[in-house]
């Protein structure tokens, strides 16, 4: 097991119909900026519940944060935070709204030149403006971690940021929200969370037996509840397991003391930036090729995964590993997700070269758990994903 340092101070309120208690979690006398996305919270009733719950506070609203939260939009919100002397941010939404809120929490107290530096120079945020979240879409785990990904359409970039000052003060997780989520977003959530676990698990063994089993637990649970939740989003038993699995997939716990990969995310982010493909689907597009290309360094872990998550009992390490990859692809397909880039765009030719060139330009010369996935490897992996 590797050394690690772990602290996650986010308070989780996991329960049915508890939005009404929201006001107790927000500091007294706070001036609140309520942030949300495209307005689905207005049609499903959550907006009204929230407005009622926090009616005793001085509130400003900022709606319209898009999927893959857009830098230019967030800069508009930042101006409001400064103009209106906001002291607390309340994100109501999924990963995009929460990630956007994290950027604002960082930017609001940032004393550098341009807030873009937080992303382009990957400046860690030690102290951000406090914020809470009401999760409406289980997927990214952003509700209990300190990381975010922000997109800049202007330059077709999607970059990551984070720091210990960016944990939500609280997050309200009410599994009942799942029933109003469209099926394709449920599929995205399942695939996103599953891939988050893979990134922290599918590397090489450091004899971290407990972490391996915790990661496998999250994957097994996602596999087990996927059919139920896709069949009936109002199945509370399935939604609650789905929701908590998404959170634990990326709250930091399973990656303590183990190497992690994240190359799939780095490549996937480019597909979102270039083609605006949903984040989760970009991960699905890359995962199979990435594992096949890196079979030599990942086969032991792939075989363990095949055995423990997919009950594969026969074959050599390599055979089991390959079955593990196949099972993963089939799982994504069972969620109704297409697994090849060419199924999303006709304009895919040359993508591998573009991404490889960008990575070279950014100095991203060695990705993955060994730091050895070069831009040339990236080119081949993306090409295999067409």
């Amino acid at each position: 097991m590797n050394n690690f340092q772990f602290k996650n101070p986010t308070k989780i309120l996991f329960r049915k119909g508890q939005i009404e208690n929201l006001s107790k979690e927000i500091p007294e006398n706070a001036k609140v900026l309520l942030l949300y996305g495209g307005g689905s919270i207005k049609s499903n009733g959550i907006y009204n519940q929230i407005k009622k719950a926090i009616s005793s506070f001085d509130i400003v609203e900022f709606g319209g944060i898009p999927a893959n939260p857009e830098y230019a939009v967030l800069i508009d919100a930042l101006k409001i935070i400064k103009d209106k002397n906001i002291t607390f941010l309340l994100a109501v939404g999924g990963g995009s709204v929460i990630d956007g809120t994290k950027f604002l929490a960082a930017a609001a107290l940032f004393d550098g030149n341009s807030p873009w530096d937080i992303l382009s120079k990957n400046i860690r945020t030690q102290k951000g403006m406090p914020f809470g979240t009401v999760l409406t879409l289980p997927a990214t785990g952003s509700e209990m971690n300190s990381g975010a990904a922000i997109t800049r359409r202007e330059t077709k970039e999607k970059l990551v940021m984070g720091g210990p000052g960016l944990f939500p003060v609280f997050s309200i997780l009410d599994p009942e929200v799942v029933k109003s989520i469209p099926q394709h977003q449920i599929s995205n959530g399942l695939a996103d969370a599953f891939t988050h676990v893979l990134e922290q698990y599918m590397t090489y063994s450091v004899d971290a037996k407990l972490q391996d089993r915790l990661a496998e637990s999250v994957m097994q649970t996602l596999v087990e509840v996927a059919p139920a939740i896709l069949k009936d989003t109002s199945d509370y038993k399935a939604s609650s397991n789905f929701m908590w699995s998404c959170t634990l997939a990326l709250n930091g716990l399973i990656q303590q003391g183990v190497p992690s990969d994240w190359a799939i995310h780095m490549m996937g982010h480019e597909l979102t930036a270039l083609f605006r493909i949903d984040h989760a689907r970009t991960l699905v597009i890359i995962a199979g090729s990435h594992y096949t290309y890196n079979l030599a360094t990942k086969k032991e872990k792939l075989a363990q995964y095949a055995t423990r998550v997919w009950n594969v009992s026969e074959g050599s390490v390599e055979e089991k590993a390959l079955i593990g990859i196949k099972k993963t692809t089939e799982f994504f397909q069972s969620l109704g997700i297409k697994t090849r880039l060419s199924e999303y765009t006709d304009d895919y030719k040359g993508t591998a070269q573009i991404i490889s060139k960008r990575f070279t330009e950014r100095g991203w010369l060695g990705l993955g758990e060994h730091g050895k996935v070069t831009p040339s490897d990236v080119e081949k992996i993306v090409e295999m994903s067409y």
Copy 2:
């Protein structure tokens, strides 16, 4: 899955030889009370490492906190805290020293009549004096939770306490400490952590699939590393898994959203108070009888446990459940732990009646996940444990 609220702000520093960085974690200008136990930290070198690491602070020492931290001893330490204007507590030890420190953290800021009220009236501590820990004995999980158990020899009582103000600010977990731990304490640690998981798992299903798997992961890991760590305490791979499993067995995570039992602990505490039997061994004495006696309400979970942790694949639910109990007893025996009260004392007769009477007097009329284990049931369970 049941509703839950979860927050665990303790910072974990899990690494080899990192005591030297201890001073960075203690607030500047703190006046520190260094607390430890029977002095084993002096013979194994940890004491000197710590004194060196925090030499820049104003330090007072208090050694001699016994196993099952004794109220009268802690009252002496409390006097020092007040007399010397201590502002930060540093616990160096296992669960006893850490639990004792939690009592002091609570008592130091307690404004009631007698600090004994914290225990006898189970007063929750919202704000305690800040404290950190250096764990020298993996077992109780006290290094990452907010609970404690304190013994009062005078009245042969062992009572529990806790509250959100009693999480350690930080805990340093260095698996290298394991190599100097005597074998019987390693066995205790394994049994203690294993039983902690059982108490939060062996109840009834609320369809919390993820929590079940997380609990099973901890148990599987403990079972897997036990032989290695007992054979060679300097096996770092085994000790690191052992140490992290003990912490996660009782840091609150696996009990979120599920019913928990804790009747074994309630009965076990009495055996410690009456006979000074090691805490972990009291749990072992009670566990088998408790599960056998409550087979009717616990058999489904016992069967799942038998299947997943012990790979039992055949038999009815009840048959699997009974094999699960047998496997548990055999596991404890494989650690060199005796499983019956009569193996610890000749004076065991009447114990069941004494404990049952005490529970009645305290108004503990219904223990366990259903609140239905009566003093009369307790009497029978303890009797079965002779």
